[in-house]
């Protein structure tokens, strides 16, 4: 093929074939090759490589010993394990739902230290192994509702956040709890891409009011489906607050800090009119761009087997947690 710039047309004969390729070249130069743009960077390459599994082997997951308290075993159909661990929002590892599983397997989750400090009588730095041993682990079947209007039912394994907080003894000034995800751009390619790549600032930070954090439903999860968490679900330690939208349930926690004032939270910083500090699941308060009145259930069904169900106030936990917000205007404090 002649190496002719397309800005300079000549009178020479241009065969349809070379025209075809030059157009391809233009498209490529503009970066709008139809297939290419739709692919994750990790999957680019020859066409026959597109679906080859280039990701590293799945991270090791160890079996856990845990109790199964009846109070946390509602009769709900569990979302299949492969969907729980294969459909994730974890921007540190990429933007689409398949990216975290594809890119997170190399995350170094052991040893893993968590700093607990701020307004506490006993600040400490703990290894996750110690936490797993110190607290009795429980399996709890929780509803999980993403702010994107999809939902799952997930068998988490963990211990109450309140138990850990009692151990470190919050001071009388402590009113809020702030959490922080690992910041390590070498391990987390999404962080290396920065805000323009991901749309949010890193490290990911979240927060709860102290009374929310002390609520027995607030769980620090170390496992799911009987084993330790896979990296894409927030290994080795993540928060699970089942009555709030999923983005509150921060993953791969390295720091827990008790504070007097309300801490900044990642999605609230990115779009304060769309994501509030409280982010309680509320079918009455729509996201500005979509309805929160119902949700798509990620179930065992196939692609065409779509279930939409009404979203429940506080994601079905209203009886347990509505009291925390007595007297508050939940439209304003969304």
């Amino acid at each position: 093929m002649r190496n002719r710039s397309w800005q300079q047309p000549t009178e020479q004969e241009v065969t349809p074939e070379s025209l075809f390729y030059s157009r391809r070249r233009v498209l490529k130069a503009l970066g709008i090759s139809a297939a290419a743009l739709s692919l994750a960077p990790s999957a680019s390459g020859a066409l026959w490589d597109l679906f080859a599994d280039t990701s590293s082997p799945p991270a090791r997951r160890d079996p856990l010993n845990y109790q199964k308290p009846a109070a946390y075993r509602p009769d709900l159909p569990w979302t299949p394990e492969e969907k729980v661990i294969g459909y994730n929002n974890y921007y540190e590892f990429g933007l689409d739902k398949a990216a975290p599983k594809a890119n997170a397997q190399g995350l170094q989750t052991s040893p893993w230290q968590v700093v607990i400090d701020g307004e506490v009588a006993k600040p400490m730095t703990l290894d996750v192994d110690e936490l797993r041993k110190r607290f009795t682990l429980e399996e709890r079947i929780y509803r999980f509702r993403c702010v994107e209007a999809w939902s799952m039912v997930i068998p988490w394994i963990g211990f109450e956040l309140g138990a850990l907080l009692k151990w470190v003894q919050p001071t009388s000034r402590a009113r809020y709890v702030a959490f922080q995800t690992l910041y390590d751009p070498k391990q987390m390619p999404g962080q290396a891409d920065g805000q323009f790549g991901s749309g949010i600032q890193f490290p990911y930070v979240e927060g709860l009011r102290l009374d929310e954090a002390m609520h027995p439903l607030s769980l620090l999860a170390v496992g799911v489906y009987g084993k330790t968490l896979p990296p894409q679900n927030g290994a080795p330690l993540r928060l699970v607050v089942p009555w709030k939208y999923g983005f509150k349930s921060i993953k791969s926690i390295v720091r827990i800090r008790l504070l007097e004032k309300q801490p900044p939270t990642t999605w609230n910083l990115a779009a304060p009119d769309e994501y509030g500090f409280y982010a309680n699941v509320n079918p009455q308060v729509d996201h500005p761009r979509w309805s929160q009145a119902s949700e798509r259930v990620i179930s065992s069904g196939g692609l065409l087997d779509v279930t939409r169900q009404p979203t429940l106030p506080f994601n079905g936990y209203a009886d347990a947690v509505a009291g925390l917000y007595a007297g508050m205007d939940l439209r304003r404090s969304f």
Binding site: W6, Q7, P9, E11, V14, T15, P16, E17, L19, F20, S22, R23, V26, L27, L30, G31, I32, A34, A35, L37, S38, A43, L50, F51, E82, K83, I85, G86, Y87, N88, Y91, L95, D96, K97, A98, K101, E148, W150, F196, G197, S198, G199, I200, A270, A271, D286, R289, W290, S291, S294, R296, I298, L303, L304, V306, T307, R308
Partner: protein
């Protein structure tokens, strides 16, 4: 410079192959769990982006025809435009079926309530009008009005990328890039309209 009928056929087959190959890719991708364990959301986005890509391709044809001095290329716009409409239909169908589970009252409610949905719906309706009138018969019936009607493609080129940018949870590079490509293709026309025509007079 003209193109032989054979060359035109080759190009048209090429366009069909491209549209078909992307559909084949989509089916394979879903089968191979490429979009993750639940394909619905990513599939909807993929269809929308592909519709945009075909839209850009139609808008690229007239600059290409000019640069390569091959006006016959213009005749390919109909086919590329119809593929754009095809992918826009898949996008809409996928949203209605896979996201909303055919809850059409919710679809209507969302279209009315959400500005970004309104932009998307308007874009689809305009594409529908263009697709329906993309035959010779309509061209003759509508006379001069036909050309004006089909300039609506420029409106789609403004609305659809904004619809995409507005729909995402966090602003990232991809929707910005699509908007930039649309802007480039439209600005080229504006520039020619202002400059080129003035100079040729």
């Amino acid at each position: 410079m003209g193109l032989t009928p054979k060359a035109m056929s080759v190009l048209k087959i090429g366009i069909h192959l491209l549209g078909g190959a992307l559909l084949g890719w989509l089916i394979l991708a879903v089968q191979q769990d490429y979009f993750g364990a639940d394909a619905a959301k990513e599939l909807i986005k993929y269809c929308g982006r592909t519709a945009l890509e075909f839209l850009f391709l139609t808008l690229l044809i007239s600059p290409l025809a000019r640069w390569t001095r091959t006006p016959a290329l213009i005749r390919l716009r109909r086919l590329v435009g119809l593929w754009c409409f095809f992918w826009a239909c898949l996008h809409l169908l996928a949203f209605a079926a896979l996201e909303l589970g055919w809850d059409l009252s919710l679809l209507l409610e969302e279209v009315v309530k959400r500005p970004y949905m309104l932009l998307g719906s308007l874009s689809w309706l305009l594409l529908l009008a263009l697709a329906v009138t993309s035959n010779r018969w309509s061209q003759q019936r509508l006379g001069r009005g036909w050309a004006s009607l089909h300039r609506a493609v420029y409106v789609v080129a403004v609305l659809a990328p904004i619809h995409y940018l507005w729909s995402v949870k966090a602003i990232t590079i991809k929707p910005v890039l699509y908007l930039a490509v649309a802007a480039l293709l439209l600005l080229w026309r504006l520039y020619r309209h202002i400059n080129g025509e003035a100079r040729s007079r």
